[in-house]
Each structure stands twice: as structure tokens, then as C-alpha cells.
Subunit: 476 residues, 2 copies
């Protein structure tokens, strides 16, 4: 696009901003409109989240539960929150699992003795190791767990099961495509073991064709320790290659070796900061993300972004001298990826202390352009919340729908509160999710900052117009 169009576009945008105003001024307060403008201005002109993320990503790196990096992240974010002049900052102890990947995994496809090609794999999180010498076996490719029964022990025993059902590219929400595939990763090994498989390869949960294997959690369920088989993810390019090779030579062999290990649980922490409410100090609003990440990349999108956006919400309020009526807490949850211990511990402590939580918002879907929010909410309250949507239109935030919220805040759920999740544009999320390319350079500063501003705006509205209970009271 050259100079020629820009004047037209410029004026059209001015026109839109102006013409949109009367529409929502009928429904919402001008004061709210100005407050949102101020939040977005402050976030975009004087944002801090990108700098925080740069440190978390490049100076600390991937923050798997129980790792040195996770502990450094706890220390760093606590220190940064303390600089903000909040009313309280503290660490909430929580014991977390410690699983380590060990030395780099190693795999190849052998089409004839000595004729091999490398396969890009990584161990799934929680997998057992292979024997010291690795595993070499024939491969049986399936499109899903449901094919195992028909094949039966006869065809599976002694082999490596290769789950190769791709994410469905025609689904608009990539989370929906992920949801339709991830059973292979999560339960694949447990199910294949029942038929005597010796190992499992899973096609990476990635819509792109590339060479990155994507890790992620898996379960063995009740499988006895001596029956647990190792599981790895293979890159999408690797999966396509292996599948083609199997068509030409069904008897080829796959070799892989991984040295992952489970250690006893270790001490870790949720990091919490609070601005105490002026009117309802004992009613809490939570905004958060998870501080832990997988170990392959530096966890910039999953979920460094959500952490720094949540910290930014409180920083913006302090910067703008906004004094909330409710107590607002940022919670950086530990161990979302492989245990959810932080989210469970926070909810349990809240219950023990009889703390009333009225609203919780999580950002855990990447630092991309915010498209809106999904609300775990009843219909009456949703109607109220949806009436705020026009306030967000000038920021091109249109998506207000009922739906899930976030894993870490899930345990808080009760009938008296609202849970919500930030919904950023999802197209690129699974290009990076749980892989070595979830790195800082894949995050755009403006997109990250718009997300933080959107979150602060929603929290401001909940703080101002009250909780679910109050909505019910207001309702005629």
C-alpha cells in the first residue's frame, strides 16, 4: 500500500471512531469510555509488559516446574511486583512435580540396516525413559486411539504405535482443532500399552508443516509402573515423512532414546500481588497467567505473555491512580503445564481463609491481538457483561461469548463468581505451543500490550459495576 490510499483510510478511521460514539454512549457511561481510552493509551505509550517478557524469556528462559528457571522466575516477578507499590506482594508455597527431559532425545528411521534418516522428536512431558540403549521396533500407524481395538494385540504387540491424526485445518479456532487431536498425546501411550505396544510416537499438535516437535502433558492413568511405555512427539514434517516411508516399506524400524526422569516433588510458589480494595477489601478479583512453561522454548506465548499482561493490569491501575473498590490480585500460578498444583493450591487457600472471590480472568492463549473474552457465566449475568461490549469496539475487540476461562482459575469456580478467559487471535498459537520456537521474537509488542489493556478494561468494569451477586440485585 502506498501513500495514495492512506489519506482516505485515515479519514475513514477518524470517521468510524466518531460515528461509533453515539451507538455505545447510549448504553455505557462516557466516563467508562474515557477510562478505557486512558487504559489503552497508557498501555500502548508507556507499557512495561514487553520488557518484563524480554527478561522472563531471554534472561531466564523455559520455566518447567521444579527447574532452576522456574525458581528464578518466581524471584524475578516477585521483585518486579514489589517495585509497583502494591499493598501486598507475597509467595504462596506449593509443592510441584519435577520431571526432567534429561539429555536430548535421539531418533531415526531405519529402512534397511545402516540406512537411516533422522527424526525430530521430543519426549512428552511425564513420559518414562526408554531403556538405556533406546528402543528399536516396527511401527504401526493409526489415526486415533479408536483404531487400536480393531487392530488388537496381535498387530500391535512389540511395535511402536504412531498416532498421526492431524489437527483439522478448516476449523477457525485452532483451539478447537487442538481439542480434536490431543487425546492422542494425552492418553495415547496408556491406551497403546494395553495392546502390548513398546512405545508411542505422536504427531505434534501443530497446524504448520515444520521441523519442531511439540511436547505437552500425558497420563499413564492407573497403568502399573512396569507397564508404562515411553512416548515422544515427532514434528509435523517428520510425521509426514514417516507416514510416507511406511507406505513404501511397512516393515521399517523406528529407533528412539530418551532419558527423562521423575524426581520427588519440590517446593515452589505462586507469586501474588494485591491492591487492596477501598470499598470491598474482602472481595477479590483475580487476574493471572501461569509462570511455569515447557522447557523447549522460553515460554513467551505460553504463558509468559499471560503473566506479564496480568502484572501490567495492576501496574496500569497504579500508574493511573485508579483505586479499585474490590481487592485486585495478580496471581502468577505455578505448574499449570504438568500438574495444576498452583491453581489448586490458590483455590484451596482461598477456601480455607474464607475469601470471597467475585471475578477471575486468565490470559493463557498467547500474546496475540486480543479478539475478546469468553465467560464461564450464567445467562443473566452474561447479558449484563455483554452490554459492555460496545465499549471495546473502538479497540477492535468484538468477541464476547460464553465459554471456558482458564485452567488455573478453574478450581476457584463457584456459583457466586464469574470466570473469564482472554481470547487472542488463535491462528499462530499452535505454531509455537510447547515447542522450541515459543520464543520472545514471536511476540509482537503492540499485540501483547493490547491484550493487557483489554484485560485491565474488563477488570475495571467488573470492579466498578460489581460482581455477579450485585448484578442480580441490580436486575429489575
Amino acid at each position: 500500500m502506498s501513500h495514495n490510499t492512506l489519506t482516505k483510510i485515515f479519514f475513514s478511521i477518524v470517521f468510524i471512531s466518531v460515528s461509533a460514539s453515539p451507538l455505545f454512549s447510549q448504553k455505557v457511561n462516557t466516563e467508562d469510555s474515557l477510562m478505557l481510552r486512558k487504559i489503552f493509551d497508557t498501555a500502548l505509550l508507556e507499557g512495561k509488559s514487553y520488557d518484563w517478557l524480554e527478561y522472563l524469556s531471554n534472561d531466564i528462559g523455559g520455566r518447567l516446574s521444579g527447574s532452576l528457571e522456574a525458581e528464578r522466575a518466581v524471584e524475578y516477578t516477585k521483585k518486579e511486583l514489589e517495585k509497583l507499590g502494591l499493598d501486598k506482594v507475597w509467595l504462596q508455597p506449593v509443592m510441584v512435580p519435577k520431571w526432567t527431559r534429561g539429555i536430548p532425545e535421539y531418533a531415526y528411521i531405519e529402512t534397511a540396516p545402516g540406512i537411516t534418516s533422522i527424526a525430530n522428536i521430543c519426549a512428552l512431558g511425564g513420559s518414562v525413559p526408554t531403556p538405556d540403549g533406546g528402543i528399536k521396533a516396527e511401527v504401526i500407524e493409526v489415526k486415533g486411539i479408536d483404531e487400536l481395538e480393531a487392530l488388537g494385540t496381535e498387530k500391535i504387540k512389540g511395535k511402536i504405535v504412531f498416532y498421526n491424526r492431524p489437527m483439522q485445518a478448516n476449523l477457525i479456532s485452532t483451539f478447537s482443532a487442538y481439542g480434536g487431536c490431543v487425546d492422542q498425546r494425552y492418553q495415547g501411550a496408556m491406551e497403546a500399552a494395553k495392546y502390548g505396544a513398546v512405545g508411542v510416537i505422536v504427531r505434534s499438535m501443530n497446524l504448520r508443516k515444520d521441523d519442531y516437535p511439540h511436547t505437552g502433558s500425558m497420563t499413564y492413568g492407573d497403568t502399573p509402573a512396569n507397564m508404562r511405555i515411553p512416548a515422544c512427539a515427532i514434528s509435523t514434517n517428520g510425521a509426514d515423512y514417516l507416514s510416507s516411508a511406511l507406505k513404501l516399506m511397512p516393515s521399517l524400524k523406528f529407533y528412539f532414546k530418551q532419558k527423562c526422569k521423575v524426581f520427588p516433588d519440590v517446593q515452589s510458589y505462586n507469586v501474588i500481588g494485591e491492591i487492596t480494595g477501598t470499598q470491598f477489601p474482602n472481595q477479590y478479583i483475580v487476574v493471572g497467567g501461569h509462570l511455569d512453561s515447557w522447557d523447549l522454548g522460553d515460554g513467551s506465548h505460553d504463558d509468559g505473555a499471560g503473566c506479564v499482561q496480568s502484572m501490567e493490569v495492576l501496574r496500569l491501575f497504579k500508574k493511573m491512580n485508579y483505586q479499585p473498590k474490590h481487592s485486585i490480585r495478580v496471581v502468577l500460578f505455578m505448574n499449570e503445564e504438568n500438574g495444576l498444583r498452583g491453581g489448586r493450591e490458590y483455590a484451596q487457600q482461598a477456601q480455607l481463609k474464607n475469601e470471597t472471590h467475585v471475578f477471575a480472568l486468565e490470559s493463557d492463549a498467547g500474546g496475540f491481538t486480543p479478539r475478546g473474552f469468553s465467560f464461564d457465566i450464567d445467562d443473566a449475568t452474561f447479558t449484563q457483561v455483554k452490554s459492555w461490549a460496545p465499549l471495546f469496539k473502538p479497540y477492535l475487540i468484538h468477541y464476547f461469548e460464553k465459554g471456558g476461562s482458564g485452567a488455573d482459575i478453574g478450581p476457584l469456580k463457584n456459583d457466586q463468581m464469574v470466570l473469564a478467559g482472554l481470547r487472542p487471535d488463535s491462528q499462530r498459537y499452535f505454531d509455537h505451543h510447547h515447542a522450541a520456537n515459543d520464543t520472545f521474537d514471536a511476540v509482537n509488542k503492540r499485540e501483547l500490550e493490547l491484550g493487557g489493556a483489554a484485560m485491565a478494561s474488563l477488570i475495571y468494569l467488573f470492579d466498578r459495576y460489581g460482581t455477579k451477586k450485585e448484578f442480580t440485585t441490580i436486575k429489575k
Copy 2:
């Protein structure tokens, strides 16, 4: 985000899809809804635009008007269109300007004799060269053209004027931020020359801090040839550095050398393909982008993306055996960036041949996630068009507003037709615009394909429900 949340999200998405249906089924036809679903499915599952863009970008590269690359792009896209089984494919001759950058530009900041630091610059498109030995002069920094008058000839004469007003980061539309700055680039040299400046440096039109200088068109207006002064863009990091250095040492000198040159106009072409309409073969719908680009990157976002998306629209219709009522043309315009000759020639030929154009859609704002369309349209027709918006909601396309369309289709404008522009997410566009990092790797396959599908959907609706004239007739 781990496995824990996905089931919730998956079901929430299914729920949203189902619950949204009754809303728009009242307004629009189920057949249309199914057609759009088929368009998006085909684009996402069997798309071709990404492959085309890969060739245009990596095998051909930057396609400045009059260059070998531009001619190769004409040849390649014509050949690819011929493979689609369209009714007609042809080249429309157009004479285009030929400006060349010459050998790489070279610049430094000299704080004392022999004490220098490199500055990342590039010549602005259309700039005259410096003298063979380059230019070295003191620098006067301004925030805009309007400061020149107050400074006057006394303070400007013999110096290099440094325009350093940054894009406004708090504007949500980056095009709006661009529109608020680009006068410095377009008219800066012409205005500074009036006060005796010997050269011009312009802060790159980029919201990021990085080391890429961004080129773009400029004008000398009526300035006589011997009064024209050379102009370059400096990277945003370079601009910040220069500005800081000037504060410490206002007498520092800036040296730059560039060897750009204007050649006589050369022959080039618009590339056109057509599916002839079954019912109104003499009424034309145009979809297009511009085939030329600047020379620093490979023009993937600006505007390779728009070209391959436009080609994809016709490919999708052929693939789906959709036979349009109106004749649908893809037009790949030549020379948008520094002349608009292709757009003007197409419109002139249309007028000479008395061709009735009913709708034109341009994609020239990058290959990012489509957010919607802006329409250059009267209010009555806009109401009709806006009634289609619910059809796009399942694809998270919400933006239907009045506004500009595209530079290349602008010359077609008349009262009897509708012009529109695809509006992708704009946050990252100016990170790459006219710079060396406008490259293929910055384009996401899904985002590109979603844009093409959105365009095909809108064209289908215009083809089915008619033109502006027909709307007027239908209106009660």
C-alpha cells in the same frame, strides 16, 4: 495452556457455533451459510495462495516497477492463471516509471573528525542521488513540516533536515498512525528545499524499534530539477540514536551517499484473468492487489499477499464449480507503489470499452488475519451489505464499516459501483512495510488463506445478490 482447559474450550466453541446459527439464519440464507463454509473449508484444506506467494517471494523477490523481477512476476502469474481454466487470461500493457536504487546507500554520523557511527538508511523511492562524493552537513531535527517556517532559511540553509515525528503508538489502527506521519516522507524534501536544505532524513514509518529503514514514495511536486534534494529514511533505532546524539552535540554532521536514478518509462503490464458471467457477462466484478512492490524485501505482505489471495478467489470458484452470474476478473495491478499507472490504465481501458463495473475489492493491507472490510459506498447500499455481516461471524470477521477501499481500484470509482478493501489485523503491518523484512517468513499460511476465503465470500455475495443498482431496485 495445557490439556486441562481444552475440553472446556472445545465444547464452548461447539456451543457457540450452534447457538449462533439461529441468530443469522433469520437474516441470511442457509445456502449462503453453507457456501461460505465450503469456501473457507476449501481455502484452508486445499489452498494454493501460500505456494504462489512462496514463489513470488523467494524465487522472484522484490518487484519494483520496471525491474526484471516485476517482469518475471508478470510472466509467472499469467502462467499460473492460465492453469486455472479461466475463460480468459491476458496482459494489459501499461508504461511504468523506472527508478533504481543503485548501489547500496551509505551513511554515518560524525561527532568529531574521524569519530563516526554507522546509520541504517535507504533512499526514498523517487529521490534524486546525492553528488558522487555524498553529502556531509549539519542536521536540524524537526517534528514536522510545520516547524520549517518558524526556523526559516537562516537556520535551515545548508543543513540536512531530519524529520523525526514518530508514528503514534496509541492509535489502534496502525494505518491511522501511518496517515498521521507520512507527510514527512512524501513532501518532506520538497518543503525543506524551499528553505535551502541540502538533504532530508526521515524517521522510518515503523512502530517498532529496529534497524530496518523503510522506503516509500515521495514527491518533488513542481520543484525544478536543479533544486531537488536527496531524501533518505533512517531506521527507528537510527532515528532515536541520531536524536540523542544531536542533544549532546548539535553541531554533529551527517554523511550520506545514494546513487538512485530515474530511467525513461518502460513497458509493463497488468495481469488479468476472467471467469465470464452466465447471466451478466458484460457486468464486471474485480478482485485484485498490486504485483509490483518495493525492492528492499520481497514484497510478501505488500502486496504479494493481496495478489495471491485475489488469484485464489477465482481458483476457489473454479475448484467449487461455482459459475458466477457476473464476470469476475482478477486484476494484478502494476506500479501501485510509485505511480499507480496500472490502476489508472485499467480504469481508462474500462471506460474506453464502456465496461460496466459493479463491484471491486482490493487486498493491500497485508496477509494477516482478516478482521473485515471497509466499503466506499452510500448509506442505503451499506445497510444492505451490512446485513451480510452475520454470515462472517463464524469466521471471526466482525468489521464491516464505511471507509476507503484500495489505491488501484480507486480510479474505477463511479456512482454506480461499490468499492471495498479487505481489512486484516493491522498491528504488525508497519513492522514490515516497505522494508527488507517484508519477507515470506513473516506471512502465516492460515492468516493468508483466511483472507482469501473472506474475499471469495464477499464476492460470492455481491455476485449473488447483485450490484448497487440492483440493491436500489430491491429496496422497498
